[in-house]
Amino acid sequence: MATSRSEASAVKPSLRKDSPGPPFGRLLIANRGEIAVRIIRACRELGVETVAIYSDADARAAHVRLADSAIRVGPAAPADSYLRIDTIVDAAVRAGAEAIHPGYGFLAERAAFAAAVEAAGIAFVGPSAAVIDALGDKLHARRTARAVGVDAVPGTLDPAPIDRPDQVAGIVAEAERIGFPLLVKAAAGGGGRGMRRVATAAELPAALAAGSHEAASAFGDGAVYLEREIAPARHVEVQLLGDSTGRVVAIGERDCSLQRRHQKLVEEAPAPGLTRTERAELHDLAVRVAAAAGLQNAATAEFLRAPDGRFYFLEVNTRLQVEHGVTELVSGIDIVREQLFLAAGQPLSEAVLDAAARAAEPASHSIEVRISAEDPGRDFAPTPGEVRRWSMPSGPGVRVDTALEAGERVPPEYDNLIAKVMVHARDRDAAIDRLRRALDETEIAGIQTTLPFHRFVARAASFRAGDLSTGWVGEHWDGAAEVARAARTAQRTAGLAVLAAGRGAGPDGGMLAGPVADAPAGRPAGVPASGPGGRQRGDGAARDGAWRQAGLADAVDRWPR
């Protein structure tokens, strides 16, 4: 049933006798970037033919080049291309695709998309539309958790009646019961949209109104609820897989505490510092909620871990996560591959059941850092543009998922994640050493990325000590100071390089030799002509400096992944 490319039939993978064969003949990937490439790789190994979709901004992108065929779905703007449900389903029908994998972001958690795919007679690689819809409502998810005896973060279970002035006193009383500080959160939310921190009862009415308004404009649903702020907290999540018989298993957990603005920066598996018992208990909580919700395929249950060690359920993400790779490295499971077999109606594989049985006693450690087109010296402001140099690390225990190459442009229209650098080693200390080594090998020029932040994390004593919390970035990272220090080194290095070139020495000779600049790939600059005399320094101060302090303070993600 697999239809390999005719010109590539010779490389069609030979299947073992006990192998189930390809789950689908042809699959469309409703995504772009590194995750589209990741899915293509799984399909290629299984002998599943791939159909890519692309916008005008991505006509020559890696996922288009790597797929067996590709279909244009519209102009660059996501709303006109990667978010067009009708266009994408139509493309899948025309291409003869038997399945659609949504990746993460874009339409991955839109119940309407899953429903349209199912209605077209195509398999949706993910939970059913009904489950996406139910768990997409965080209040429904919280009620589901309560029904099976899993503690959600203390708070309300129904939308706050913000349209009823007569009930303000009731909300305030409920808030007093929950305790301050608390969070106003959007029922349909994600990525911090619609969220407000409330420190006192007096702030509550305004926060409810503002949060609801933001949620309505971001999600088309202004329902908000209250949740106690747990701080300091760790963010720990459980990777789940489920099949059509209703069986759900956990194959491991991840710690994703290093975040800024509720977006993850660093993830690792397993979560450090948990005992075998705690780990098994956490996995059980996640499986209970997911099984009660009727989960199939892949999903992730997110929890907060309070300082006293208790876990509180947050929400379920009904899709492949960005950070699934660290779980793959530790569990040995190819999650995308398993997703495809599950979507084809197969039961959980022996490999998955085996991994689930071992999940509470992980035998290795993996860490992922998200290299994003963002400036960690300016509060992670976006930095799209052309990448001039792009050299990713390799060697033992290093995996890089990316779709980018030197000379390509990071388009401003899409997500700023451009590479995931993952390391795998026998234990956490070795993984951190490996991460530091891998990031030292990484060379990127042309745009600013989050690389300096990750180099900092790999060297930070508190990270190595496992002293993690969702406040870690704010407590430890001083981007402005780091960039200023690096700027002085850059000026000195540039001056020395020019001087060295001027006296005929290369980057390895003259003044560049020695500890000041370790410049393995540096190219000597040209020889400047000499000029007339005088002395006074330049005047380029502070024009952008004012911006650096004043601007970019309130960046908010428009659609979270």
């Binding site: 543009g385 997500d415 080194t489 000026q491 500890p515 006074q536 380029g540």
Partner: protein, 161 residues
Amino acid sequence: MSIRATLLGAHAGLVEPLVVDPEGLPGGDDRAGQERHQVLILELARAHSAAARRLEVVVDGWRFELEVEPEARAALRDKARRDRGAAGHSGPAEVRAIIPGVIVSVAVTPGETVGAGQQLLVVEAMKMQNELRAPRAGTIGRVAVGTGSTIEVGDLLVVVE
């Protein structure tokens, strides 16, 4: 011959220009002798004069654009600029784009009085809405962009007088 290295682009003015003397290490960072850094140096487009070079220098993952030129030449140019107008710091503040993107909204109009830190406009790039605020108090002299404008780094957005 001494060389002056000056930051350009998004980091212009972040630290003062540095003069590198061939006779020994420059000052500015006492720990310079003990540190190792990962450095990339790439040539950028040619600068405003043949004597100057524009480089992209990446230090430990931090990316900078710099101009390097003979100190003697840079100093002469500074002197000429000082002589032309010693107007000082009270001139108009040009608010320029430090990120590329699309203008989502403009909160001010010419002639309007603004306080330091007041929102001027919102730029959207890569899923993010970035609020840009007045660098200092003053009167809006000019609004160079409108809602829907596509901007590149360095584009003039607003002038605060």
